[in-house]
Subunit: 414 residues, 2 copies
Amino acid sequence: MVIADLAGRARTAARALAVATRAEKDAALLAMADALEARTAEILAANVLDVAAAASADSTGQYLDRLTLTSARVTSMANGLRQVASLADPIGEVIRDNTMANGLKIRQVRVPFGVVGMIYEARPNVTVDAAGITLKSGSAVLLRGSSSASKSNAILVEVMRAALATTSLPADVVQLVPSEDHATVKDLLTARGLVDLVIPRGGASLIRRVVEESTVPVIETGVGNCHVYVDEFADLEKAVAIVVNSKVHRPSVCNAAETLLVHEKIASAFLPRITSELIASGVTIHGDAAFLACDSHVVAAEADDWDIEYGALEIAARVVSSLDEAVEHIRTHGTQHTEAIVTESAVTAQRFVATLDSAAIMINASTRFTDGEEFGFGAEIGISTQKLHARGPMGLTEMTSTTWIVSGEGQIRG
Amino acid sequence: MVIADLAGRARTAARALAVATRAEKDAALLAMADALEARTAEILAANVLDVAAAASADSTGQYLDRLTLTSARVTSMANGLRQVASLADPIGEVIRDNTMANGLKIRQVRVPFGVVGMIYEARPNVTVDAAGITLKSGSAVLLRGSSSASKSNAILVEVMRAALATTSLPADVVQLVPSEDHATVKDLLTARGLVDLVIPRGGASLIRRVVEESTVPVIETGVGNCHVYVDEFADLEKAVAIVVNSKVHRPSVCNAAETLLVHEKIASAFLPRITSELIASGVTIHGDAAFLACDSHVVAAEADDWDIEYGALEIAARVVSSLDEAVEHIRTHGTQHTEAIVTESAVTAQRFVATLDSAAIMINASTRFTDGEEFGFGAEIGISTQKLHARGPMGLTEMTSTTWIVSGEGQIRG
């Protein structure tokens, strides 16, 4: 099985990487960055073939945009690696440190996961981002990208491995899993004991498949049906800016807002303003009766509009009679990614926080801030929407495990 | 489906529990403790029926011992709940707190998981321990014990729920899943979205089944093929005490040692001593040629002895030529639970720590110290052997998730 072979080599490489110094890891990251820029022409030449094949397969413009590399995007990926090199090394950090009554010294220390599998869609930048973050966090990575990006991923991994070969780290800390064979996804998901963690990055159907089929531990990422609730005590200026930014700033990403909920007490003042602002920004509003009454461009919301992650310039919108109704709506239809409240009432904001159960809650801020960069992590491998291990943006710290080191002088249990 | 109904009620109860104060939770725990003691006679009467049925089914003495409750054991369970009440409330703890350059205040706060499923074998004490720890950590629990403990578990849960009914917390924070129907395990494991976490406690086959069938996130616990390595630089007095304690103190538990590795340079001095000590303690040694030569009571190790978790007074034992050979043996045969080294060399100890990949490493201490009580947690729901979320003993802190709360004044992303 190809995965067993790749994972075995990854394990060997991971053992060397686990004891590498920060300087060795940073040197490797910088070498990878330089190599990507130096070999931009080869990378773009391979990418053109992927893009052409996707275009002839009638892919959407958004899909093609994500797949396409440019010279600027290659530089951006290289700079991402340099940024990771500049971050502190999470490995070896002492998290807890106690001396017990019996003299035992107990330390909890951050250690690498070991071998991490990434399964993702047609975004070649994930190939480089994931390689950088896993390397710095001390784990070897098995990269299983989409077959439609196979030529791009192949050259990116080849360039990074060639750069690694000039350093003290083994090239096998970064390996590509063949995407021509669909079975490699299943093999990766069931490589229990060979792979320590699998992270899927992509749409809801990919995440669901990974969760259902995997026997390897998984961190789910990124499905976001995010809500903005405009409370009766909202500052309407802030509310307009936050709703528009949450929806329009980058509609294709998981922290973009998909549903707008407005308290009925401010509906008459707020709905005409936000409706015209959203429409002026090119947003299609799927509204309830109150929104429909505002503007002829509003379309009637269907039942399933409340559950859709549009990923586009569309938003579902309705009026609610209370904070509690807003909370119930979010609990029923949300994906527990990010919800925002706009309110000047600290009491209401506190109640919103206490009664929801999402990875991130924004009080008077755009949903778009749920992001590793915005949280100061410096790099992000994805946004976890599960409650286990890491919740919200995952940076270097979240990409580690821990171990307990207990030092004694011959202690035994009585 | 019975699980959907139970989980729905658990979710409702969990929402009330999530906003309960520490005082409310502690009062409930104390009421449960008092009720268990007050109704000891009923509990023992039910337990007698389970034990009689198991005895007539030819269960082992160890199995019957785990299943059997006594007045003292009921008091011990009640005192366990009182101990949990005395511990700090993990919920609401601020883990990280930063103000970003744009003025956003970002806090990471500890929150409950929500609904936790426990799947375990015929140990009625787990019913009470798990109920107490999940309640204090803010989650509702669905308890799926073994059918052979069904009468004991039924009365324990009935007593705890009756006590809860006298408090401000809903009784549905503690619910028993019927064990007569085997399908309830599968239903619990696939109750995705209804159950936030499943924790199996039991032997290797239970853990494996849970991992393979579950689509709900799992924390694996407790399979321990633990090793003691006696280094060439060992203090032999300490080594004898640590090996014997690690094996003999409580052989049925997961942190008991199952394999002894001895450096060849001290074999001639150490093997006769440890062999006679272990045999005097009633331990069957499955040894290599060097151990076989020490004593006629040593039996020859078979290939699979290195992989067995005996859970009894048996140990596999061999001589190794180096630290590296010991590490390779542990990496090949171990379960990454706990390994101990006995050595006076700090350099060797450090190398042992750096090259292994286990939940806990003991330096000159018994493997038996991998334990929530011994680590100062005050209570323990199990010992995680996975790298995700929690590794090693899991106390109240490990039984929580986190959320991000971001407070702004209208910030949007530019």
